[in-house]
Amino acid sequence: MHESRSFRAIRAVGLTGLLIFTLLPLYVMVSTSIKPLGDVQNQFRWLPSVATIRPFIDIWSTVPLARYFANSVIVSSCASVLSVTLAILAAYAISRYVFRGREVFRLTVLSTQMFPGILFLLPLYLIYVNIGQLTGVRLNGNLSGLIITHLTFSLPFSIWMLVGYFATIPRELDEAALVDGASPIRVLFSIVVPAAKPGIVAVLVYSFITSWSEALFASVLTDAKSKTLAVGLAEYSTENAVYWNQIMAASLVVSIPVVAGFLLMQRYLVQGLTAGAVK
């Protein structure tokens, strides 16, 4: 395709602009995380007066970051593994069988994208309080309740994305196995799941990330001990001073695992995220 000089110029300017917009905040995060406290209390400076790793040491003692980190890992792993496991079974049924209620289920799953989270939060909170009173099983103020509530957004999304991945796996593969006498469950686990492995991992990663970021449910359903990062990180600024260098160091530490996961699975995530819209 012919490319005019003016188009090339526009492209250079446009991409540079987008790049600056994207990278500036990331640069601010990284550079601030290695500044001493004095640097962040006055005017902004592009470079640290001295580079220090103190913030990365201090973050663990200023607030109980390690505990919040562990809480987040537990909640996000459990919620994503649980929702992906359920979603694999459901997505297999939806993508391979025609049955009564299929469309209703499909539409229900899709329509949950529309629901404001607050709609579920109030009743879930009350139900948890009730269950606690009736059975003594505490679900608010600890992690198990939070894990269940995170399914409200991760389960429908996992089903939605997995149906897309399963649809890309040639049906001839599992039909051949069925003709050979394998049971449908065996076909699912020894043919469809292995073939869709990258997709499944991608969904797992995505659902882990959304759970990692979630603050609405976490702000209500956790207490001092069960706080997750999304809520706990605010504590750096409720102390006497705002430790911006530590906040940025902590932000960096809690971001790296999920960003790395996302970028590693990028190819498959893109495929899954756009499957709903493209075509």
């Binding site: 902004f44 404001p116 709609l119 049906r171 449908p184 893109v270 995220l273």
Partner: protein, 329 residues
């Protein structure tokens, strides 16, 4: 909506061949189990859907008819029936509660409109500039994706620091470029609206980029070649070929972006905790505040139900209008 879902496979038939080996009883049992199988597979997911969506939603609708405040919170099943009182209160625009809900809804709609437009514009710009095999296309896309992969609260925290009056990079740069006093309070008053838009656009436009890039990739290249032979310039190709071909992608993309933005809680919460200035008082945080600060769950639920109805009407209306326009075109 989804490609995988729309191509409905034909009903699976179990073991078509070998009639001699399979006894008729065995065949019947097999047919039965295959009819039950999809439901068995769906069962666990269905159970959890029931647990986290259906039951809470019905409960939510239920408590919106109750006079449920802090006195009844611990024994909410005994809260007195309030009929439509909560709804009346929420839509009574002569009272402070109704008026502030209306204001919050207006702010949220303005916020969603601006964010969705900016995300789409940046997305289409990026996707167009990266459409052909540009050098560094892959690495660039990866870089652009980082904000989308970043946890929402870290994005908001970084911007909060950047926008802070004294130590922030935004004021600092404006001062250096002589574009302002450099003493603007970005997180207070009407400026809070700008701030919250900035954060949301920064973290969501990569999704538009991704979707539009994928959409453009599915446009056959020979269409462009034909257009070029016909003498269409780049702008004409974009207007007459790319945009129409992207219509179905845009239909879903705009809807998804709108719903995410409209329902967003994480960004305003990370920027302003639970008390944002009026210009950034998005509706989900508004309802949250009405429920948990004043502990009036009945009112909060009524507002959530109204919100859901509103979104339902908007979504159905949007899909109806955009689908018709696509068919007319």
């Amino acid at each position: 909506m989804s490609s995988g879902l729309s191509t409905a496979p034909p009903r699976r038939t179990t073991s078509p061949a070998k009639p001699g080996r399979d006894g008729s009883r065995k065949r019947v049992r097999k047919a039965l189990s295959s009819r039950a199988l999809p439901y068995l597979l769906l069962g666990p997911a269905l159970l959890f859907e029931l647990l986290v969506h259906v039951i809470p939603m019905l409960t939510g609708v239920g408590i919106s008819f109750l006079k449920l405040n802090q006195f009844f919170l611990r024994r909410w099943l005994q809260a007195p029936f309030a009929g439509l009182d909560n709804y009346r209160l929420a839509v009574d625009f002569s009272s402070e509660i109704g008026l502030s809900l209306l204001r919050s809804l207006a702010v949220t709609l303005a916020f969603s409109a601006v964010v969705v437009s900016c995300c789409w514009l940046l997305g289409i710009l990026g996707a167009t500039l990266l459409q052909r095999s540009v050098r560094g296309r892959g690495p660039l896309r990866t870089l652009f994706l980082i904000p989308y992969a970043l946890p929402v609260f870290t994005s908001a925290i970084i911007w909060k620091f950047m926008l802070s009056r004294d130590a922030g990079v935004v004021n600092h740069s404006l001062r250096e470029l002589h574009l302002g006093s450099g003493e603007t309070y970005w997180l207070l008053g009407d400026n809070a609206f700008i701030s919250i838009v900035l954060v949301q656009v920064w973290r969501l436009w990569p999704f538009a980029l991704l979707t539009l890039m994928a959409g453009m990739q599915s446009i056959p290249t020979d269409l462009y070649e034909a257009a070029e032979v016909d003498g269409a310039n780049r702008w004409q190709q974009f207007r007459k070929l790319t945009l129409p071909m992207l219509a179905p992608v845009n239909q879903v993309l705009v809807l998804v972006l709108f719903l995410w933005t409209f329902n967003d809680f994480n960004v305003p919460y990370a920027l302003f905790a639970s008390s944002p200035p009026p210009s950034a008082d998005l509706v989900s945080i508004h309802v949250y505040q009405n429920s948990f600060i004043t502990w009036n769950f009945g009112l909060g639920s009524a507002m959530s139900v109204l919100l859901l109805l509103f979104l339902l009407v908007v979504t159905v209306g949007y899909l109806a209008v955009t689908s018709r326009r696509r068919h007319d075109a």
